[in-house]
Subunit: 131 residues, 6 copies
Amino acid sequence: MDKNNESRFERGTRALSDIDGEGGRKVVDSLADIAPDFARYIIEFPFGDIYSRPGLDLRSREIATIAALTALGNAAPQLKVHIQAGLNVGLSRDEIVETIMQMAVYAGFPAALNGLFAAREVFQEKHSLAA
Amino acid sequence: MDKNNESRFERGTRALSDIDGEGGRKVVDSLADIAPDFARYIIEFPFGDIYSRPGLDLRSREIATIAALTALGNAAPQLKVHIQAGLNVGLSRDEIVETIMQMAVYAGFPAALNGLFAAREVFQEKHSLAA
Amino acid sequence: MDKNNESRFERGTRALSDIDGEGGRKVVDSLADIAPDFARYIIEFPFGDIYSRPGLDLRSREIATIAALTALGNAAPQLKVHIQAGLNVGLSRDEIVETIMQMAVYAGFPAALNGLFAAREVFQEKHSLAA
Amino acid sequence: MDKNNESRFERGTRALSDIDGEGGRKVVDSLADIAPDFARYIIEFPFGDIYSRPGLDLRSREIATIAALTALGNAAPQLKVHIQAGLNVGLSRDEIVETIMQMAVYAGFPAALNGLFAAREVFQEKHSLAA
Amino acid sequence: MDKNNESRFERGTRALSDIDGEGGRKVVDSLADIAPDFARYIIEFPFGDIYSRPGLDLRSREIATIAALTALGNAAPQLKVHIQAGLNVGLSRDEIVETIMQMAVYAGFPAALNGLFAAREVFQEKHSLAA
Amino acid sequence: MDKNNESRFERGTRALSDIDGEGGRKVVDSLADIAPDFARYIIEFPFGDIYSRPGLDLRSREIATIAALTALGNAAPQLKVHIQAGLNVGLSRDEIVETIMQMAVYAGFPAALNGLFAAREVFQEKHSLAA
């Protein structure tokens, strides 16, 4: 990788670690054996390009991501990573729960229910780790 | 409708008008001949119950809705209503564009593209009305 | 086509005409230039195999189809064909509207709204034809 | 909650218990710690407002819900609750299987297959309980 | 079943076994108790009609199926069967991984990630079987 | 943009023009006023990173994209661009039609039907341009 890719990669690595913390690193590591280039793309595009942009704060970006993943309803592991990410960037549990509940209006009650159950798992893990 | 339904209905009517303005009223009116009760439900549940809750500000709620409708990609008219609603509650055009662009990561580039084209239509209508 | 395909084909043609009437024939004809075999498959599998099965009456089958197409929200032309089909097999306008409204619970309010607008178009066409 | 909310709540509680039985109560209870208000909304809107409406019988309403959840394919737990609900309101196993099989036409064979596997689980649980 | 249905059924059985091997047979067998007719439809329509058509080679057909199931993101078991099917008809692991990675562009990074994890499971099972 | 971004950008611009031709350029140009950075991302990530990768030929990549966009069913304009792209990279009309028809198995008949209608539009435009 030449200098500029390093800089996108470095910027993305920093953003991934600031936002997703452990969860993000685990996803990237889990790709090492099957698709290492895809791990690099995740760091460079979503985190190096998108999340690093000015113009929308990280709290708003995580609200958008939690809303979208709850509504799509087919990416439970990634939703849990971003519920944790929401807490990491300063969203309260209430703000996350409100965001997920609102999805009942746009994607139906089952999508919102499954999002709330994902949130409970994340909150409980966090609690037991804190204990 | 007895007193309490009136109060949910009144609260929802106020929220619908504060948030969606003209767009919301048009949607409700458009249901008068086919499903008037559904028009009432839209006022009572999404707006009287959900958007009226404390715990998440309206700017964040519209970011969540714009993100979800962009990601789902099958509700263009409602996305346009909520892009306008986002402007109504104080989101900047940049914040709306950033929210939609971010959906390329979670729902693919076509969903984000179609969201950006919806935003352009809303921004242009607003501009021409202002002119 | 040998005898048995004719029999599936004939059974499907009868079912298609009983259920979808004009709308079904138009869809099949519209495939003649691009994918004639697909027109045959539509007649043979959905109509010759599935809709011709005993065990669920046609009214219930059209309720299932109207519900699914409203919830999926990405097949407006087919939803309109099946709203007409619902009327053809004896569903009342109210039963169709109730089915679509219920989808707000499972697929969100925008999906239900767009389904209701499709129903209004079909009901109005029917009305103007009747006039 | 004042009188009318109680009445929506009471009507919804009765409908939830008539339709979903144990399954519904479990879902509502499971929300107590994370989003108690959402448990109330589930009782009030889907069950107090929608399922309590005249104009479509409960057997037809469950066919619509089983069809939609099978087609959407991203809410397996809720599909299982409503397959049980279908049995509770008088649908036969055959009618439920026919409804799910038909979804192969509108949402593809994998969605129908996963719906059939959900039905088998529900039928087997019921059988073993009955044994 | 008369002669021609046998021939669709036989052609489909051959195609199912050539393409999906064990995985396909298991799916069909798993339907014996709940929906035996659906097992027959899977053999007759997807395999007897579609996969048996000239005009697109099996490698291309499996690329199309792996792409679609990755993008839809709600049919993990069927995606795994078709990743194995891709290997059976001569796709390399790299070609399968490239197909899945590309879906990040059209269905988002979570859909591609979950597709890659499904591929890893299939490749590892194959490896351990080979060991 | 420093040297390396230029190189990703240049590689992507070449790939976009080889694959999508006019259609791709139009999409990129259409973003100039609303989200110019997103136009750059489309060139850099999908085309500069993904489509430029060795390991899967462009014909296979377009089969994957046509399959996915047909199955998702919520991005008709992008599907049309990629049906044209398929012709540009050497797919025959038959191969494109076979790919779309196969999606009836994985995403249902309406998704395949709407894909076939998109293909007809593209083939007709091409024909009339050729005339």
